[in-house]
Amino acid sequence: MTSQSHRLTSGGLIDRSTPLNFRFDGKTFSGFQGDTLASALVANGVKLVGRSFKYHRPRGILTAGSEEPNALVELRTGARREANTKATTAELYEGLEAASQNRWPSLRHDVMSVNQLFAPIFVAGFYYKTFMWPAKFWEMVYEPAIRRAAGLGRAAVAPDPDHYDKAWAHCDVVIAGSGPAGLAAALAAGRSGARVILCEEDFALGGRLLSDGGIIDGLPAADWIARTLAELGSMPDVRIMTRTTLFGVYDGGTYGAIERVNDHLPTPPEHQVRQRLWRIVAKRCVVAAGAIERPIVFAGNDTPGVMMASAMRTYVTRYAATPARRIALFTNNEDGWRTVETALAAGLQIAAVIDARPDVSPAHRSLASTNGFTVLHGSVSGVEGGKDGVRKISVSLTGGARAEVEADGLAVSGGRNPAVGLTSYHRGRPKWRNDIAAFVPDGAPPGMVAAGAANGDFGLGACLRDGFEAGAAAARDAGRIGNAGSTPVADDEAFSLTPLWHVTGKGKAFVDQQHDVTASDIELAQREGFESVEHLKRYTTLGMATDQGKTSNVAGLAIMAAVTGKSIPETGTTIYRPPYVPVAIGAFAGHHRDETFHSTRLTPSHHWAAEQGAIFVDTGLWKRAQWYPRAGEKDWLESVTREVKAVRSGVGFCDVSTLGKIDVHGPDAGVFLDRVYINTFSNLAVGKARYGLMLREDGLVYDDGTTSRLAEDHYFLTTTTAKAGLVIQHLEFCRQVLFPELDVQLTSVSDQWAQFSIAGPKTRDLLKEIVDPAEDLSNEGFPFMGAREVALRGGIKARLFRISFSGEMAFEISVPARYGEAMARNLMIAGKPFGVTPYGTEALGVMRVEKGHVAGPELSGTTTAADLGLGKMMSTKKDFIGRVMAGREALVAPDRQVVVGIKPVDKARRLRSGAHIIPKGQTPGPDNDQGYVTSVCFSPTLDQWIGLGLVERGRERIGEIVHAHDPLRGEDYDVELCNPVFYDPDGGRQRG
């Protein structure tokens, strides 16, 4: 184990009583509770953390937050391995394992760093330029080579073993960030009585106060934070969520947040989720997301050991870890100097301060002389060093002279960019503020306001005032008018800045370190005509990595502005889009994966069917019994054939509860149905059922089903399983929007009734055992297409319909859904003497094809009523949905493809749906394609494969031999067009 060579002996917000062991690239280190992986690596003197994307350059840690472009690792192993994890935000835990990315065979000896020698081909636009090469070369040589050479981490290859959750929250005010502005906003809003949610992406609250300290209300920052959290904790309506990043804003005051519930543990505790995706609905939002210190672009600025000045303070103050022992500072502003004070207080040596401004204050001069370091006026023009870190820094002095500084760390401060992501997500464009040389929010999505550093107010006092006012105003706007009390008070630090973006020098100067975009790439893009920021971004990939350019975008714009001779605001910004930080797809999916990808609906008799060993098929959300295999049956076909034969010779039953069922009530119910079906229902006698067909308004068939009239003002209609939800929506539209004058009400009762089809010549015998003996089930007492309520033995009321889909004597019986399973069991018991056989959807389908009934494959959304052979049902005496458009020329053309029966000429041949119908003797092609086979089955009754198809002028061609062409399966054979009703064409069996 390596000792923590770069850990200060005291201080920091780490728990030294809880040491933690972790592994990085196979080597064991130790850190403390309260560390991030980055701070623990810093404490162990590890400078080289990864290799860069294109050039495989050695990279270290640049920042201490979620803006980190370099220190990306593969965290965890196996199925939990997560690529591109920022070491700067990954909390340390006992046993953490991380590996560096983009190196082979090892981080220190990476053979791919020869990519640097091929740098000319990796310049801006290299993807576009290489796409110009011959396609073969790209596929076989170039792409595989790039994939090996360039890229980020490796994703896990096994399914994610963890759970993710999604949740809603509602509040008056949501606050992003718990720095001084965020805490002040929470205080003001909470005291006003608002329901507050405060989201902080860090695991500790306080934001920059944790690194920079300060005096607030006369208290040291840590004490003020403690006092504030105690006060907020006493407010029942204030909820503080740590490890939670507000990543997006959506319409209607809805905010997306990702809570890393258990990412700080090796694995989530049992029954707990790894992450939770929040949708927070808030009346107001205060964005107190702070500002991000920005780099200055110079040659070698990616050398390990070059670090943002504020990040260096964070490592020293918050984590008591020292990134370097002899530090140089390169700054263009006053804020950078705070790093000098922090380093000196920690006993570190300052090598020099390189200040790009014309002058520094006398106080700084005396600090320099007291502590024995020099202040150089100028800029850093180069860094000497490598994978072991910074060794020497070259300085171009104002006036032209050069100097060199020996140091093992270089802190850089180029000013601050307010985090304008959230405020710009509704196509907002931030505006330029000259005094801080940065973009600040220019308005925000409705209900949102930025406060503190996120709004360009960098002073501690200003942040507190700004946040407090924003919190109080947000509460007021949300109708909470309690007394907000007094504003926390602190002094404002000076922030004098002379803009400096890019120092020219020899060697690569990186703008976007994660995507390896250099200053010269931007200049090249400009020379090649890609000046618009949106083009610049895509051509160079600037800002398109997982860090979304948080440390690079503005510098890129500034360099483009300089080479085009425009100002930065004229150059403009690209469109900002959520998420603000990467969010795992698993979090968006939540529990919607694997077997819970969608909800599953079980039929009322499901458990009984499962006991019978039924094979189930997914039908939309439903699981339906497909067939019931019996011992000794060798395949599904044998089972299905047995079921069909049993029905046709005896009696069988099938759960058809998945049909959509709608009760239609009201004096105008009949008129309403006349308008939505092509045929007439107002003249249907009470106690009768009728088949109905609906069109869409464009004249094509929408759905079919049977409708029964149970009373003068009460109809009951069924829809297909697939359209159950859509038909009620369509009918409600007709009722509420098209025909509001009709006195009619619709009730979806699909889930209220369990419905069974009972079919076969012995159906009546079976029913007599189920139905109260007082009910007349004779052909006269309950004729074909009869429908009425009946009492069952035992007193339960049921709805009984004498309708048939199989061509057999058949009934459908509905009982309240809670009796569905009992009904199935009863049918089995009562039907035993008659050899009752449960049948599944396969046998149901076989019998409907034998009988020539159309179903889903024929109701394809392209067929008319006439195509289906149902044209005569269309009433000419009334208006109905789809009537006018159904009369269009093309929809009544004589050469339309219509439903016809199809059977192979060779009786032994299997017919398959999807085969194309071609005139006999012709070569198949698009010009002579006359239709296709829609439904097929093996008919046990005819002892051969049969089918239905849509064929041009099919009904006029009965008896014609045509050719079935099936290029998908490589089959060609002759078939005969025939009457689609293969079974009992005169209908005697179903009427008997």
Binding site: G252, T254, Q736, M885
Partner: protein
């Protein structure tokens, strides 16, 4: 997006489904093919404020007329369809 259903109150987008422009009126039975063709196929593609049909399928099953700005998604009015609601039969 959130829609204030006149019956259920403010609900989130996932409870609703969208049909489209609420302006076209279904022609009378004798209006002729041209009128029906226009009703079925011709729609304005409004960049701005538009009145739309939405269905509260995840709630009360009412059809709603929603006035929405297609550029900003701002909803300025929501009313129930003429025939929505149990006792709202328009005579």
């Amino acid at each position: 997006m959130r829609i204030v259903c006149p019956f259920c109150g403010e609900r989130e987008l996932g409870e609703f489904s969208y049909l489209g422009d609420a302006k076209p009126v279904r022609p009378a039975a004798d209006a002729g093919e041209e009128a029906v063709y226009e009703y079925v196929y011709l729609r304005d593609n409004v960049a701005g404020v538009m009145s739309e049909n939405w269905y509260h399928g995840g709630g009360c099953r009412s059809w709603l007329k929603v006035t929405r700005n297609t550029l900003t998604h701002e909803i300025s009015a929501v009313e129930a369809a003429a025939g929505a609601g149990a006792r709202q039969v328009a005579k």
